[in-house]
Symmetry: C2
Subunit: 265 residues, 2 copies
């Protein structure tokens, strides 16, 4: 099942996406819903963020060749994490499918994509075993963890490096029915494939993270966990179009733009 | 002006606190409000979190003697930050005034308080100068950034160290009218003063942080920024009562409790 959040004629709603057709619902996938008789063509709506997260968790450094590649580039240390240490982000950088990513005017040329599987939590849970951990998952969407690598080297907290306005595209929708082990993440730059990896080939898998997190922290409907990326991406520039496909989920597409001139108030 | 969020008879609302009397409002301080004719005695309501943050930002390492003291204790490195690098937390650890802080059963004895001034943002802003930065502030509340120091040494992201369920008490209310330079932070353990520092004696002040953040990130009504703490606190144990007073704002009080036995599902 595919949950889409969309706007049409000034109204935002959730719907169930079947092929290219949206069945509008009242309510939402977290608190309950009813199907309406209203339908829309996918091409006739604006796709919105699939949800505004309650908490935005991120795994980071969760694929072996990304850790070694970032270390070789001098961005991070060559340390493979020994346990699943979850991180946090703010919601301010989130943008939807097809919304632009704005490159700050003082960024260097080292702006890169990171294609990530995003886990959407559907239930309030604590103390889940690894075996039962996935029972709290509503579904999966896609994230692009846009990163400025020089700031990643100098900022103690990755705040500019990974959380500038528009640096966290997420979408296009939430797919509830997936085969994690069959998934591939395929990233295209201006239509040409640049990165491909097995999505579930993580250092610490989704169930391991959720079980570890819920020893200490309650997870809530609407929390999201970004699971990290593999490989070393190319540098991007204004005008580039990045498409992140995760097989069985969909394709998240965003165009990069230069920041417009601004004045400081 | 003091904004309080409270529950009474199963209903949660905002009110304006005058002395010990609450004037209930409809609406809220962020999107507009109207005073109602309903009033309540402060002692007759449950004080709730003053807001559910849109984004939970935290400054960290923002007072000189806290940085040196934590380095002497082997918790963090002896590096004074050279620029205002803002961090992020999840909302899951937030609890209100007078709600208990639960010490996880596998925590060490090195559980400590951190008394912090919390800035509450009231306007959507970007690109603010240092001079105009405080124009976006609605008011100030108080945070207790409860920290488990052994986990702080071992966790890459401070997730257990500082964001376990109940580790982030915030309240009791939002004061809009303050004299930052006159403020003192006074922390009492079981009634005895243990810590006192000049609240505004920060490495990077509130205006500096907001100006730096808004070069890259839009701030929104309901965002909060926890400004860090000074000194080296004592270890706490179940039964302890911690009161964090910030003069001109109020006193945030929470009791520490041991975690109850639990089963893993």
């Amino acid at each position: 099942m595919r949950w889409i959040r969309f706007s049409v004629e000034g109204k935002t709603a959730y719907g169930i996406l079947e092929g290219e057709r949206i069945i509008e619902v009242s309510g939402d996938p977290f608190n309950g819903y009813e199907q309406t008789t209203q339908t829309h063509a996918l091409h006739a709506v604006k796709i919105e963020l699939p949800l505004i997260p309650r908490t935005f968790y991120c795994a980071g450094l969760n694929y072996v060749s990304h850790v070694s590649g970032m270390a070789a580039a001098g961005v991070t240390k060559p340390n493979i994490p020994q346990k699943p240490d979850i991180g946090f982000r703010g919601n301010g950088g989130l943008v939807a499918h097809d919304e632009p990513v704005i490159i700050p005017s003082n960024a260097t040329s080292s702006i890169q994509y990171e294609g990530e599987l995003v886990v959407v939590i559907g239930k309030k849970v604590k103390h889940l075993s690894v075996e039962n951990a996935l029972s709290c998952v509503l579904g999966y969407t896609i994230g692009n963890d846009v990163s400025e690598r020089t700031w990643q080297k100098s900022d103690r907290t990755n705040w500019r490096a990974k959380n500038c306005d528009t640096f966290n595209p997420m979408g296009p929708w939430i797919e509830t029915n997936v085969d994690l082990d069959a998934m591939q993440t395929i990233i295209r730059l201006n239509g040409a494939e640049k990165t491909r990896f097995k999505t579930n080939d993580m250092l610490f898998g989704i169930a391991t993270f959720i079980s570890a997190m819920t020893r200490y922290m309650t997870l809530y409907p609407g929390d999201v966990i970004w699971m990290g990326t593999d490989g070393v991406p190319p540098d991007l520039k204004a005008g580039d179009v990045v498409e992140i496909e995760i097989t069985g989920v969909g394709t998240l597409r965003n165009t990069f733009q230069a920041e417009a001139p601004f004045t400081v108030d």
